[in-house]
Subunit: 304 residues, 2 copies
Amino acid sequence: MASNEKVNSHGQTEKEFLAAYNPYKYERPSVTVDMLIFTVTDAKKRNYRTLPDKELKLLLIKRGEHPFIGQWALPGGFVKMDESLEQAAVRELKEETNIDSIYMEQLYTWGEADRDPRARIISTSYMALADSSTLEVVANDDAADAKWFSVQCKLFQEHRTLTGTGYEQQRLYKLKLACEGEKDLEAVIKKVKTVSGRTVRTYGSIEECSGIAFDHAGIIEYALERLRSKIEYTDIAFNLMPELFTLTQLQQVYEVILDTELLKANFRRKTAHMVIETNQYTKDAGHRPSKLYRFNTDWNKENE
Amino acid sequence: MASNEKVNSHGQTEKEFLAAYNPYKYERPSVTVDMLIFTVTDAKKRNYRTLPDKELKLLLIKRGEHPFIGQWALPGGFVKMDESLEQAAVRELKEETNIDSIYMEQLYTWGEADRDPRARIISTSYMALADSSTLEVVANDDAADAKWFSVQCKLFQEHRTLTGTGYEQQRLYKLKLACEGEKDLEAVIKKVKTVSGRTVRTYGSIEECSGIAFDHAGIIEYALERLRSKIEYTDIAFNLMPELFTLTQLQQVYEVILDTELLKANFRRKTAHMVIETNQYTKDAGHRPSKLYRFNTDWNKENE
DNA sequence: GCAAAAGTGTTAATGTTACACCCATGC
DNA sequence: GCATGGGTGTAACATTAACACTTTTGC
């Protein structure tokens, strides 16, 4: 369907409408969705007794074309004219992982004019969370250019300068993405907060970056921040869990995302109302068997 | 600059790039920013003794053209090809209120394919908060088609149906916008949460709407929800306060946004660390003078 | 004096943090 | 027996919610 054949509900062709309303005529940005698909997997057991460590993983695609050829990028693609942003995100998710109906939320829309060297592209990022047991088959199916990278992001420098009317706070985060058989990807992201009188302004920038395409390092950092804060006050973490899980597994997922150690007794009290006990147990674990739980979808019936 | 003259950093014209990368050729959406500019103002005093009530206000523009002619819409406009989304938002803010450098944050990007009857338009919404003392002059300057509406949004119906594998929860919110000399604007927004097994899905829709253009009623409801939740754990409310304020005024702002009554003593303890006492007092108030405070920009020095 | 709001103190309930301890399993 | 994790109890402390009370002003 050519653009100038489209007649809208007011008897205008799209061309007529745009000529009247859009000062930029046919020069319009392209819109894409960028998908941040996270999961949590087990690292290798150190010996027969220990539990495996958990790793937070993110799906990346190796670019086969310029620009950033050979570098890794978030999966995603153009939004079609007849589908909503969310439909586009669901479609991309299905294409990449072959799963529909997993948790997904819109994160942020990235609109710097020069973020893509080819043309003006505005990208809305979506975060999806999946239970790794559902995914494993698919990951192998995929072409060799889609891989799960383990994700780590740490604050490694912080400094604060007083100015006449306030202060400027600068923080440097190091993002590390690793995948067996691939070079490690690294980026340094700077976040600056300027307080001058009553006005507070914040902005971020990518200071160093190796192997990560476009501004995707910044997008990944943003998603991790969101994930970290939302895990504290929502039930978002259960989207990363299998149907049945032990409380220690749940705690490990919290720990790998928050990057802290939590106290077992306190963690169990805090999450008690979000889980339902089953009468099943793990076995052959090299230590005492543990009870399996499932997510209690009704935990916040009253509040929200 | 015509679109096909633009040569990018890889020696392609934009036309060549899009032919290769974009399956939709030249058919691309338009992108706009929609601005939600909030402020809090005083209603009329009931008598010489009482304090004025606070009202949460939102700036709306009367549409002079089809579609939705005569109805009220959020201010906003097209994103130019050489400016970022945020620059576009700042520009629109300046055009509407003549203010730069007030608090602003990106809210959400609205991408339903049919949300504008004329053509495919994707809109990123930004919320801005302003202290009304800075604004009052400008509001009068503006053309008669821009007005501040008082905003109210209440949950008025809730119901829950059990399904085989979970439940469906439905909530109806009534949004009311009022402005002296204008008809009241009203909308009913439905939010549905479907829990089926472990998968939770949420979506919203506008059920009834009178006088509010496009899908803007839903955008306003979304912004109010964000404002309400952020006021609880950030210092966002101080963007609505003048330089100097009393603790009761601050409490009133919290109350009008949260739509509850708060206990004075407890409110003061909770906000104590975010304010700095001055040695100034209000006077001629018909009751005991009260101390004026200012925002303490350093309140979260350690934490965040 | 009195209405209205400013401002402070107290107590009970609740939630959080840190730590200590016992239990069950596989080798 | 012992390493490893499963699972529970408790005391100190911090936070919150509800209420009661005193102070200061303009008319």
